[in-house]
Symmetry: D2
Subunit: 436 residues, 4 copies
């Protein structure tokens, strides 16, 4: 079989002292951290779209990279990309991947044609997954790129589009089931509005629920056993996306009784002005932790940069939350990250993944170290100790009356028992764990 | 009785041609718009705290205005402020007001003392309300200023503080009931966190629900018939406030089964990166519309500026939503707005309210004109027409199957029926209504 | 000649009562405001790129509009677009236009080919400009789209790129001179950095100055009499663009002694957290006012939305600054605005321009009314009156000593003479002018 | 002498393995890094205002800490704070400090009284500085807190205020000279505007220059040999502060010919949407590097949080710039940082400084390691190699003509020589240096 990246070897762990850009410094797949091998804790996944489709175009510039491998015919190109992609994740040692239907097979002029193209590619994927022993973390349908989705997909003002989107999602779910996906994701890039002036919000949100009900129930009916995820994003390309953040989506899922989890992307959280840790904390606290799109944004830029994660504070606190949530079951760390437009060479695809994987690996190492260190968790436990006895216990048990509370407070006169929140001390502990 | 603002007359409506800063140009209380007198549509309320307590201090500077009226003794000062305040709202013709408990009476060294001071002032308020025929839109407890609340009130890590807060809220509710308040508000300024490193989010949010349950049930038990409101704010002074925005609060209220509405403040919405219209749309769509804190922020500044509303686009679209929600029942337009630090003269208190009230009045006039004009509503209705028949109707009725949708889409091939969203046309209609 | 928009008539002024989307409600070209016809005050210009090239693609979606007019061959397409564009601006009654070199002619495989294609199109433009009596407000070179500019053009780390960019700009200047452009603009979309880790800022900024010196001097040497403009933008697509805002560019121009003015775009100003009025105020105060890219962004979105301007507060205050600056000489109001992706129909091109032009027209009407009203200007004049006599005059004259100032202050003891800033009063005046 | 913090010992370096919150883990004052002892590289300074004056009040809450030490009389309080402060910096081993005039002595009812109080305190400071061997990094005048400065100080619309401010600054400079300050700083907290509606920007900015000229020339005339600094901040408390960022201030200083450097605060840079490293890079590139206010903001919060710096990426890249700038001469690392409102205990003052100092120490260690590692600097050097020979050298020398460049480009045809920007590789190097 043709080798697409002949100059790139299998990427191995060489340790922190290596200056080989094509080796892992911190990610050692077989090393056991917090009871599992790193590869099984992290469950790295590559995003088909960024890795082998996206070639560097942005709002002000054309593609910089060449990912055509000399092909022009759409189906030839699709197949070449598939071969190239599996070679990439094989060399990187990434076990999982995620795709949109329209990433892997060209759209036809009709839905029927699109489905046919997809079937051809799914056959190829099935064999490549077997050959390379790779797993589909989740599949999804791209219901945002095609102009028909300009007003939304499940939230479109045009019922013809709702129908088309349902049909497209039906097919994408079938494909995901066929390929044994652990999950299926909905990112509603066009499920929002551009202006309230032309928007019936109530109908759109109800329709979004109807859409999700139809599609998710269908998947279960054909044997899908994995997790369904909604991936929040507050805006972009819409002015307002209904799945604004973790809390909003959780409220939505509960309102409509939809059995779905969250796929949380770091950059989407920060666009909603939440830290990545915050979104993960909300998810695990409310019982909606599912999967993660690992990347980072730039907090000084107001758009989705989808950079490979490089800030180990972020990755450490993220892995802390993930470990506390019990770790991934169906989910994983999917790199919804793209190399920078100026990082256009083939080796940059590998270098960028290596950097991101090393960042997440460091996050895992330090999250484990942080938990074992114990000072943070202990501080938190002690901070709330007053709820484990006396009036606090009655409050938590729900047995206290407001009259009791008033009596207690009047006797106290005022509160003299507050302790310092010790934020700087805790930040110092973090630095000690990272750099000590 | 002493006149506190002898140079300020009763503010009257003089019409758009008047250049008298102490007259209304657009707010004509008795004029009927959309079926009600303007004063009854708008139900203006003055915020006791900004109007007569706040004197211009900010994070970098001391107070600029003098609202002591020559008093130093705390109770004398409290009484003077009460007299001055009622004179202000009488001259402005504002029928409602809102206060925090700690606005109207000085805190004592113990809760018991504070309660006594409050009782004295409530007696005075009762008589002033009767004399001036003024109504309490809502009362609330200030559970954010005192250092005891540094870690939260109902969300404090210290059960002693939870108890004290419950006692304080109990008293504030009793006071509000005694003064026939239409509502009672919770703005959780300290109900959030500064760092996740020392925060047990699950316990804090559960406790917040416990707190609200205890206090709101208590109010009902003593005969409170008004509406309870939560006022969202995403942050400030906390890094993250749990009541982040309308959608988050709605999800919270539903999760815990709390019967409360929303009091939406414009500046708080924009700090969560939502337009004021958006938050109102969410509230009315989900059935949580309650009351409004009318002000504006500055979208290029990242803190709560609490400016008097001056942008008539914002006020028009806000009143559009309010009218569509059926208008206020228990709620009103409370000016949670303060004159700028540099607008420190006594007349600025009046001038700023006049400007804000004229802005809201223009908003009402134009919202009514917009609805009567009909083009926006008609466009929206037509935009979603495909859901009133055929496959769209089946979707909305919940009778369609995914197989039917697929069959429909395969037959269509692709969607050719999208229409323009006409955003620019609609924006042009807005301008035509405002300026035509 | 073929008519490209047969359903669109010549757009006429019909007045504020008209409900014809294809007529001006407020823009009356021949009406005299502030001493000049509206068309001569406003000097509207259409942006070739948004009007006839851009077709609605965004970061998450393909084009929605069809602006190919059935052509596939690049040169045929280029010519069709030219005819279509001139028909558009003729029907809209827009006298000026602006273009990038690469908007009007397809790039070839070599610079030589690109230049040839450009020559062909410039011949056509010359004849169309004559036929329709249209003028080129400014030309510019697109030195950001092609992958060769990935690291910058004049700031590229690669001298080959500097050379190519200089050659491309040389040609674009020649073309602009040939077409009698009033101006020539530099928007450095790639003149910035993505990460400081790989950036030599000092060299890049010096090179940017060298580039501008070479190109602008060349233009003068071949007879260019118009104005050169730098168009600031703080970021996007770069992480940091060197021409961050008006103040930064002015400092740069002075440091390197470059004779250039500013072309200020509203959306770029707000991305740098400045109001449009602020940037214009800086420009006219420092003597760098030149031209304007009229559009608006969305202050709650962190990217360049390039919407048609619709906020009449913004347009009024902008026209206020423009009138105060003496109005346009070489510059004009260039609509660097694109119809929304969902406004994809041919008529939306017209409707969106009409809305933007009406917004600017309202801004002109109200700016004139505001100046004639006089209250704002009078307030400002009085506010600084203390600098017209006494110690203030000495300060301004530069004749005061610090010892005199100290003596004066010690005698005063403290300052008792501050007046209110009356911000709310002034905001009320604005509303009275707009809505009275 | 009374010991104010009897439970706090002298803080020593104990190394990374220590879990003593009152010891340095990474800051070893005597250790030599990059050719100097850490204490001389870093030149830590404590901010008098945050350390011993500020007690936790914010916009929504009263002070939480008690820094009165039982004193009520203003002068007794001032003296107690002085003793307490010197004990703090002595125990922390911080050699430098900075203050505002109004931090160290209470304001009187007249300027004369204020000056007298200041003289008394300066006597005390002189003796305490001698006793503890501490140095004044810089002094400054607080011309933003007092209500007289509501419209500005040097930019006030009221000439009486300009005079007062000049007198106040004159005194503060005299005091700074007397105490042998290495520098004198101007942070124009009120030198900006709240609304353009009442602002004459040209006059205000000219007056600001006049003010700085008068005051800085005065200082030189009385023997001040240190550096003058302007500290940029883009806004807050103003809507727009004229000293917006490093680039704006540099342009201002050059325009008016003022011999001043920059004092750059991290949180102020991020409020202007620049990284801390960016502002330092601009300063050193343009030759205006002076001093640093070391802190951090929160990029998801839009106000000046003034937190102690804890992000070692930020401190590393900051120290990298500082080392590259040649290190501090007159300047230092002044902690313009305050403990969180909830960190209200006396030990938190120490713990927060320890955390901040350890963060900066780590930054120094890693900046040195990064420079010694050499990969980043080498990559940058190679990236721009094309400007060291051939056409690139001619460009930089200023000897190339645009015709030569065109000829060169036409011969090339297009550019094939771009290399990858390798951003991810470089980010990986950073992580390797920090965590390897
Ligand atoms: Co993303
Ligand atoms: Co994603
Ligand atoms: Co507010
Ligand atoms: Co409020
Ligand atoms: Co733009
Ligand atoms: Co532009
Ligand atoms: Co600061
Ligand atoms: Co500072």
């Amino acid at each position: 079989m043709k080798e697409y990246f002949p100059s790139i070897p299998k990427i191995k762990y060489e340790g922190a002292a290596s200056d080989n850009p094509l080796a892992y410094k911190f990610y050692n797949p077989e090393e056991v951290i917090a009871g599992k091998k790193m590869k099984d804790q992290l469950r790295f996944s590559a995003a088909y779209w960024h890795t082998i489709c996206a070639a560097g175009s942005d709002m002000f510039g054309a593609a910089t990279a060449d990912k055509t491998f000399g092909n022009t015919d759409p189906m030839d190109l699709a197949k070449a990309k598939a071969y190239a992609f599996f070679e990439i994740i094989d060399k990187l040692g990434i076990e999982f991947f995620a795709f949109h239907d329209r990433d892997i097979a060209p759209e036809g002029t009709t839905l029927s044609e699109s489905n046919k193209n997809l079937d051809v590619m799914v056959d190829l994927f099935e064999s490549l997954m077997k050959e390379y022993d790779k797993k589909l973390l989740w599949g999804t349908a791209n219901m945002f790129n095609n102009p028909r989705y300009m007003h939304g997909a499940g939230t479109s003002c045009n019922a013809d589009v709702f129908a088309y989107a349902a049909a497209q999602a039906k097919k994408a779910i079938e494909v995901s089931v066929r390929l044994n996906a652990s999950g299926y994701t909905f990112w509603g890039g066009r499920e929002g509005y551009d202006t309230l002036l032309n928007t019936n919000m109530g109908l759109e949100v109800d329709n979004m629920a109807r859409f999700l009900k139809l599609t998710t129930e269908y998947g279960r009916s054909i044997g899908f056993k994995g997790a369904y995820y909604i991936e929040p994003k507050p805006k972009e390309p819409t002015k307002h996306q209904y799945d604004f953040d973790a809390a909003t989506v959780i409220g939505f899922l509960r309102k409509y009784g939809l059995d779905m989890k969250l796929n949380l992307e770091a950059n989407h959280g920060t666009l909603a002005t939440h830290t990545f840790q915050h979104e993960l904390r909300v998810a695990r606290t409310e019982g909606f932790f599912g999967s993660v799109d690992a990347n980072t944004g730039d907090l000084l830029l107001g758009w989705d940069t989808d950079q490979f994660p490089n800030d180990v504070y972020d990755t450490t606190l993220a892995l802390y939350e993930i470990i506390k949530a019990g770790g991934f079951t169906t989910g994983g760390l999917n790199f919804d990250s793209k190399a920078r437009r100026a990082s256009f060479k083939p080796e940059d695809v590998f270098i960028s993944h290596i950097m991101g994987m090393d960042s997440m690996a460091l996050g895992l190492r330090f999250a484990d170290k942080l938990i074992k260190d114990g000072r943070i968790d202990k501080f938190v436990e002690e901070r709330y100790a007053s709820y484990s006895s006396g009036i606090g216990k009655k409050i938590v048990n729900g047995t206290v009356t407001i009259q009791e509370l008033e009596k207690y407070a009047l006797e106290q006169g005022d509160v003299k028992t507050n302790q310092s929140g010790r934020q700087e001390y805790l930040e110092g502990v973090i630095n000690q764990v990272l750099f000590g």
